[in-house]
Symmetry: C2
Subunit: 348 residues, 2 copies
């Protein structure tokens, strides 16, 4: 069959024996330790290469008590935004020799806690989390904080003195989105969002409110619809909207899929968008360019967020930088104007 050599794993002991030196020297050489002479290193690297030596992570990690693994917990894996974030994290992690342990909470705080427990037991070197819908305490991460394992929250975050957060300025983004609707002469703007338990929804609500007030439009509780932001929820919200008198002339939704569900329902009822009701979403999901009219939305890159989070964690773990110096990182977001919000003829 095969060579025979290829079947047995090569260890540093094999290399040491062949070169008549000690395993310690081989180990150090492989780590590019300064105390090993260039000549010896060369010999070792060449032989290692020749015989196809592969470091055994388990032996090394056992000794060094590092796992070279990063845990990632997200609400769900199969959303465009989240899978982009993960792609970004993966890129950074892979580049620096870290592996990813990925788990989803399915928007449940309990499963999030379970995942955290599992991650803890797997002794991940660092943890990245985007919180579930109904997470209202960070107690399940206490173990990590106590052990000084770095934890990074992204997008859906909660402030904590031992953790770093990466997110966009949700307040400002929502302010801009709402202001844009106002500039399109909307007078009655509805906001569809999730329960304001998570920062993202609380801040978006606040931004919406401020924009209204700055334009001397009174904020009204009854113009805020709280849902779970799924596409179905959007569809159902349309009913509530149709019952409003007068009908709103603008709707700002805290996420695109929900906005799209709502638009579809309203269109079925014969509402013209944007003429009767203008729409702004949030996230720049690929779907936002498929719906008709195309959806105005807030764009921010999940991939970039993943990269930033990944880089931050990796740098900290390799201690080129201390994570503690940073508690919050704000990434850029942009309002992308499309037809769904353009009442004025400016929109070519």
């Amino acid at each position: 069959m095969t060579n025979g050599k290829e079947d047995k794993e090569i260890t540093i002991y094999d290399i040491a024996k062949r070169l008549k030196i000690s395993p310690a020297t081989v180990s150090r050489a492989l780590q590019d330790h300064p105390r090993i002479s260039a000549k010896t290193k060369k010999k070792i690297f060449e032989l290692a290469d020749e015989v196809g030596y592969r470091r055994n992570h388990f032996a090394g990690n056992l000794r060094s008590q590092k796992t070279q693994t990063i845990g990632v917990i997200v609400p769900r894996l199969n959303s465009h935004f989240m899978s982009s974030v993960i792609a970004g994290i993966e890129l950074m992690a892979n580049e620096h020799g870290y592996s990813l342990l990925i788990s989803q909470s399915s928007e449940s705080a309990r499963k999030e806690a379970d995942s955290a427990e599992a991650m803890f037991n797997s002794r991940v070197d660092g943890l990245m989390v985007s919180l579930a819908y109904d997470t209202n305490t960070l107690d399940h991460f206490d173990k990590f904080f106590r052990k000084k394992t770095p934890v990074i929250f992204f997008d859906r975050v909660k402030p904590h003195r031992s953790a770093t957060s990466i997110l966009i300025d949700n307040y400002q983004a929502a302010y801009d989105a709402t202001k844009h609707l106002i500039e399109q002469h909307c007078k009655k703007i509805v906001h569809i969002t999730a329960p304001p338990m998570q920062n993202v929804y609380k801040d978006r609500l606040a931004g919406y409110r401020s924009a209204l007030e700055d334009a001397k439009i009174k904020f009204r509780e009854e113009n805020v619809i709280v849902t779970n932001l799924t596409q179905e929820a959007g569809y159902e919200s349309a009913e509530k909207i149709l019952k409003m008198k007068p009908l709103p002339d603008g709707i700002f939704v805290a996420n695109d899929s929900c906005a799209i569900g709502c638009m579809i329902a309203l269109k079925e009822k014969g509402i013209r968008i944007p003429e009767q009701i203008a729409f702004v979403g949030f996230n720049n999901d690929p779907m936002s360019t498929v719906i008709e009219p195309k959806l105005t939305t807030i764009a921010y890159s999940g991939f970039e967020m993943g990269e930033v989070a990944g880089r931050l964690l990796v740098n900290h773990l390799n201690s080129t930088s201390q994570i503690n110096n940073t508690t919050t990182i704000i990434l850029r977001s942009d309002l992308i104007v499309r037809q769904s919000s353009l009442k004025s003829p400016a929109g070519h």
Copy 2:
């Protein structure tokens, strides 16, 4: 601060000492070894629980030469289908104590080989792969085959005597899709697909062709448009279509996003869908219900595919079943008829 106990990791030695028994007994008890008495086990479990013992994977894996890790390589992470598959795999893997090492090839055979190499070096217990666009050899998996590490291909597969494949019947699905268009009285049906290097595209092309021939419609090379199946490619393909004389009256696209790109472009040119041109896509992407008219498509569950693949691998690794007995698993797929293909008034 904290208890003090919580800071140091508990090992089986600690438990052994406290109970005045040997670590071997503790180890065996924790594995529910039959030779340890129920009484002893009980004591051990209780203490382990009390002091918060966590098994050290590294020590165990080092000894047992198992990593309890499954490698996953996908073309890209941020597609609805792929992230669903991964969600399915994650579920199964997690349930059985396996971790996932995830990596993306970005549709490049070279990066796929790199990832495979990395997975091999991480000594994954098993590997799941959906092949990149331009992968035309499985040589980069030889190492796994030689080492008898199980490899499962899913969706985008290539037959190999040492690997198992999980996929749908692409031929039949494409046949059904095309037949459906024919039943809608389409006479000239265009097929947009990717280069037929991968099974999925080859089989879909064959199904399309057979359906035509069975309906006594001549298959014409010039009615097949080869692209990379992105949404942009669909958009661009519309140009080619508009130049055809006569215009086709039906288009079967090998994936939804490309179909949608094409539909958007055609709509912009004033083509009426489905009246002038009927559309059928493939994958049942969430976008397919957002486009107008809603897209008829082939539905199959990525989540389920992930679950099946995960279960198969896990069972094999736990040797409750041998994977070698199975070389191919075909999952169910369904034609979902929506407005985009309904020329006849039968549509609801």
